[in-house]
Amino acid sequence: MTKAFADKVVIELTVNGEPVEARVPAGQHVVDFLRQDLGLTGAHASCEHGVCGACTIRVDGSSVRGCLMLAAQLDGSDVWTIEGLSDKEAIRDLQEAFIARNALQCGFCTPGMLVAAEELLAQGGVPERATIREHLSGNYCRCTGYEAIVDAVETVAQQRAGQVQV
């Protein structure tokens, strides 16, 4: 790391609804900041190239790769991780559907997968299975083969649209 990357930057932001102030190295990635500095270990570092989606979090309403964004860029942002979404019960139905359908095995991709799925579900309506598959193609899962995940997301979309009983 060159000196410029090591230089510290002061940021103020909101994480899971709580105010955070920090001095971060300019070169530090968001996922490392969350995991190492804030103890939020739900987002996982895996490919570190923005390919696999295991570090997906929500920043200012959008899904973001925690390994492709710098912590220094978070100044003024509103960040939500799996921990906060869980505490707030914001995606309880989706989490329950994942458990019921066994849409997770090792669980390493799951927090990122849930954030990505919620981004699609938040658009409303009941997406086609192909649309769900396409939307989740930036989130790798090596365990499930994806079908159970697609089933769970589809079920929640139908529930939210009032098409099936919860």
């Binding site: 987002a43 066994n102 669980g107 790798y140 083969g145």
Partner: protein, 793 residues
Amino acid sequence: MTVQFGNPDRPNSYIGKTVPRPNAGRLVEGRGKYVDDITLPRMVHVAFVRSPFAHAKILSIDTEDAKSVKGVLRIFTGADLAKVCTPWVAVLEHLKGLKSPPEHPMAMDRSCWVGEPVVAVVATSRAAAEDGAALVDVDYEPLPVVADMMTALDASTPVLHPEMGDNLAFQRLHEEGDVDGVFATAHKVVSAHFKTGRHTGVTLEPRSILVDWNPAEGQMTAYHATQAPHMVQTVLATHLDVPESRVRVICGDVGGSYGIKVHVYPDEVATAAISKIMARPVKFIADRLESFTTDIHARDHEIEAKIAVDANGKILAFDVDDWTAIGAYSVYPRTSAIEGNQVVNLCGGPYDFANYRAKTTVVFQNKTPTCQYRAVGHPIAVAITEGLVDMAAAEMGMDPVEIRRRNMYADDAYPVTSPANMRFEGLSHHQSMDKLMGLMDYDALRADQAEARARGVHRGIGIASFIELTNPSPFMYGIGGARISAQDGCTVRMDPDGSIVAMSGVTEQGQGTEAMLSQIVAEGVGVLPSNVRVITGDTQVTPYGGGTWASRGAGIGGEAALRSARALRDSILEVAAAMLQSDQASLDIRDGHVVDIETGAERMPLEELGRIVYFRGDTLPKGLPRELVQTRHYITSEYPFAFTNGVQASYLEVDIETGVVTLLKHWCVEDCGRIINPQLVDEQIRGGIVQGLGGALFEEIHYDDEGQLLNGSMADYLVPMAGEMPDMVVGHVETPTKESELGAKGAGEAGTAGAPAAVMNAINDALRPLGAQVTQMPFTPERILRALGAIED
């Protein structure tokens, strides 16, 4: 009292039901605890300087600049670690002739593959350790590289380990019957050349270990993402000179394994050695490039094979010549000869034929070591077998299902011994095929294929029957001298409030081990599954066992759990009989209550029994046993392995303009014996299928002629994504093994075993009218276009 599996209305009937996984709740909330989530006081981080050359002499190592990086504490070379850690040699005595040189945790005077650890830099943060590693100056003298498998034994090829004499690690020839005679006279002989792509597991959680040596206690604690904690305990104890009782391996949540995390990796042992030197916790988490260059690779095979059939399509003989290259060292302690050995054991597996020759040649080369990855050897053997069977059917103008029906072992033929000397206790090839035909509506699919063909759309149907090796006995590793347990154990305990704790030697990496164990223990004792707390992955508290690999968790660990649970039930009822002044045989336990076995009338909650035993033992008859902790172990003894069987089908479309394959649908019917949790089994099958589909269509590690790895990131090494995977229909036939009361065999590898062959056969079914055929995995658009003659350069 035995479990009445035939009666779904029996009390406590949790075995065979879908119950939720106890650990899923925390994982969906991001409350999992993977190794990298753990931070210990005084913890430091290690980063490795790795060889940039496939083969090079290490002339000198200059660490001065690295030491100046803020946060860097210590720097170690191979020689430094050799002072506290003995080398290992990965051979097995029953694999005659297998050889491999001693391997140290870090390269000593020579590096043998790109990625081999050479220098370790320890710092207060991973970032500082990486900064330091970047400044270590290693002076290498490049040596001649052995990169090509097929010329590795040529006289003109340099010998990688001169002290070994040649580059041959292992060779095995198995011959049964009159192979040459049959091929000389057979009605039809079909031969083909197959290649399977070198690939790797790509666990989303990289390899991870955190080792804490506490010299004041003489205790080493390793938090490790592993499938076999007791094996790791033994290895660390052996090579770092600590008693096994003083090595505790804790395996919490593991982010995917698939066989990748069942091996001993030099950098992980190095981490333990460094902890022993520095006397503080040391963490190593592989980054993604390290994963690609140092996680074991697999499936790097090239095969020449042929089949002989008679005029009725009856298989007369297989002849298989398999080659594989395993990198520079056989991997400890399972060895890298097993995969080739499995190819010899498994080819022709489903079929009743008499003449068989198979040879595997295992060579050294300057690449990442290969070893066991999910469905070890199976995808290769199934591709060879099923590819040849389809080609023979096509030559004869016979339907691919029909030729299989004429050759599969009859369902009432068992027990049988195959020409490869594998012993099958009971399989269901015909029943499975019948079920598959129904699920996929084979005739309708053929009609759809013909209709598409008329429109110029090229669709193909591929079938692949297979056998899968599960529940291994000591014949897999133990008899070869490896300290790898084929036995497993479970301790079941009743706490004072009547809740149950079960501690098992098998481990959880997401397949649902803990759910499966909770169901078995719940049924065995007579409580709700939610009242069973399952603990796995801690060598300090669980009985010594093998862990989870080779699809042994349910079959071996499950049976141990059932036996320990039944033993606890008997202990509880012995006390209950005394308290209730009843005959023990007249009592049962249901939903946490002692009940009358005939009427089901509740006699006493377990909580009351717990209160008396733990706090008012004075009120029980003197001398009455009150052992509310029971341990049982289980090991198979009748058969070396419990074979399962199944059949898969793929329906796909090949775009002959672009060479792109679109998977339309996939089916699998599989027989893993007693199913403990239908949903978990189905999802093991689906996940396994998709790993097989990855190998068939996308996954391949590329090296250049100098042994440089060319695709070391997830952007360059393709794995299946949601958008390109099909929906999968899964069906079952249940032929329980008679070796255990539970009757469970494994299910973890069936999907991966059969999927690549099914896809290959489907592609070739689509291409056959065009006169094209592919046999080299993965079946990339380029390879398909080449087969079609659309690319020729």
